[in-house]
Assembly symmetry: C2
């Protein structure tokens, strides 16, 4: 794998050098970013990148700085891969930031500049940032009967007390050795994960609990995609019943607009949504523990109503119902029934009867 | 322990009942919150609560609702402790939220109301929320050669690959079985923690790495306090060089204003600060990778200059220097030297020569 990545980085450099050797102005070709070059692939059921590209040329004064930055980032990534080292994307920014010659101009003024170039590079040579050994801040943990190998260590993620295994930002090198679970349950909040661990839900129901602690970070998305692909484990997602929770689900399922070029390696199109839904409020009589929508929430609903991947009538129904009822419902509101309710009734009933949203 | 807590909760209830039996208006006595009842104990070097109290009476119309809330929360906590169950503080809010009689009034309108009552209860009976089996959202992980027992599980936090152990919100029940480390290094960011793990810093330098991922959550503070107290491990803190990083350190060291009544069980007054400092910028020639202060940062500096626990001249010097230079410096800016620099030079040199701030 790292060999492939090295070759791709080398190829990029050789092309630029050969342009210079031929006394041509060097340039690179970069797939375009933004919504205009993103489409929802109905067949593969994920967001994909189109085939529009742009030239970034050294002698176009509007491109010169970005061209230089592209070369700096590519060269740094090559060093990382060669030396089998990893760097945070903020470390990369600091490592490459310096003034140019005797001038006051810096290579990078802000991390947002280097982040963009990293995304460009991912697109240009079609590899994950993680495979360039670049890592983002991590978040999230897992708990359940699965054996993992990372370097010399081999451990079972159900034997770590109530803590679970903290998922690193880069999971390219880990191996899944053995699993004794039937499915993966992704949970939005750490607090709900703690509840389910205390209730022995993962162990009693043969599932691997994955706590994403908000919007799923890349480490978690990659983990889910690999677990689903390599171990054939179905993925069920459990979030708050609001436009943010539903978007967390949609990102896990079919990718995000920003990272559409990575959907293949970061998404799980077969993922299902177990809750919370607006219907749950009536079914489980949770009217007393809803929260009022804010303006921001309403705006988000309008946006989601338009996304192709929320076009399914079941999702349109939930979104419209949310708008009409003017409330949201949190996972933890289920504690209003009893602490045990979510683990003994809500989840087992819904999973058993496959009462999922698509 | 849980027996003690049960008794304290029972005593509180018995007092209220006996007031009613005597046909007196029931009330509870609550230590006052806020800066006016907080002082910095020079001897013990931590923030402490004073002895001002207020009465909360059932028949004072301004207190009636809060009195009712206090009884609800106390009774819920008693159930938790009796049944050896834990609840998130948001779960408690949802569990206790309901309308009163046939009216439209709710027991709680917002979680901030129940949070306040929980803090009151901690103060009234002098126990940690965690000992009432109430838990906040968790964050943070540890990595290093220490053996932990949690329930039936026993594991070594250096044998979990690069991930480390995800620290649960409530660590009251875990046991530290064996440790092969000389000190604890608390690290502000997950990314710097990943760097140090990749460089084998914790293993090569016999230290336990504790990643707090921002302001140290209560689970992490309690962990540090217990590790320091029970295993006699010195604590060294490594944050960004800015007023926020320094405040993270000061909270770990001597507690926070809000939770001053808990300083005994949540702080480590012997903790030392290894960096980043304003002096580091010159010593390590990091001028090119500083970030400009924002207005918010400057405001925070002014506040900290006035706190008694930043009165030490070494801290006053750092704060004033920060203000004068107008910049901050991040941990990860050390990558500008090289990725290995922080683990091979910066930390070993400073720790070896005990180049700490107090």
């Amino acid at each position: 794998m790292s060999n492939d990545v090295e070759k791709k980085l080398q190829k990029l450099a050789i092309e630029v050098v050969s342009q210079i050797d031929k006394k041509k102005a060097p340039y690179v070709e970069i797939p375009q970013r933004g919504l205009s070059n993103v489409f929802f692939d109905d067949e593969e059921r994920m967001l994909k990148m189109g085939d529009k590209t742009s030239k970034r040329s050294f002698i176009n004064i509007a491109h010169t700085k970005k061209f230089m930055q592209t070369m700096l980032v590519s060269s740094y990534a090559k060093q990382l891969v060669e030396n089998n080292k990893h760097a945070g994307i903020r470390e990369l920014y600091y490592a490459l930031k310096h003034s140019i010659g005797k001038g006051k101009e810096n290579t990078f003024e802000d991390q947002s500049e280097s982040n963009l170039i990293i995304e460009d590079l991912e697109r240009m040579i079609d590899v994950l940032r993680e495979q360039l050994n670049l890592t983002a801040d991590r978040r999230g943990f897992i708990y359940g009967d699965i054996e993992i190998r990372d370097g010399k260590d081999r451990f079972n993620a159900s034997k770590l007390g109530r803590g679970g295994w903290a998922v690193p930002g880069n999971i390219e090198d880990i191996e899944f050795k053995k699993s004794n679970v039937d499915r993966i349950l992704v949970v939005e909040t750490a607090a709900m994960s703690d509840r389910l661990i205390e209730e022995r839900f993962p162990l009693d129901n043969n599932c691997l609990l994955v706590a994403c602690q908000g919007q799923a970070p890349r480490g978690i998305r990659r983990l889910l995609s690999r677990l689903h692909g390599e171990m054939g484990l179905p993925v069920v997602v459990f979030t708050d019943g609001d436009p943010y929770g539903w978007y967390i689900y949609s990102t896990i399922k079919q990718g995000s607009i920003n990272l559409a070029y990575l959907s293949n390696t970061l998404s799980v199109p077969d993922a299902k949504f177990v809750g919370m839904t607006m219907d749950d409020i009536e079914t489980y009589e949770l009217q007393g523990v809803t929260e009022k929508l804010k303006d921001m929430d309403r705006k988000r609903i309008e946006e989601e109503l338009k996304y192709p991947w929320f076009k399914h009538k079941k999702w349109q129904k939930q979104l419209n119902k949310c708008k009409k009822m003017g409330v949201r419902i949190e996972q933890q509101a289920l504690a209003n029934k009893s602490l045990e309710f979510v683990a003994q009734d809500y989840l087992p009933e819904k999973i058993e009867s496959r009462d999922f949203l698509p």
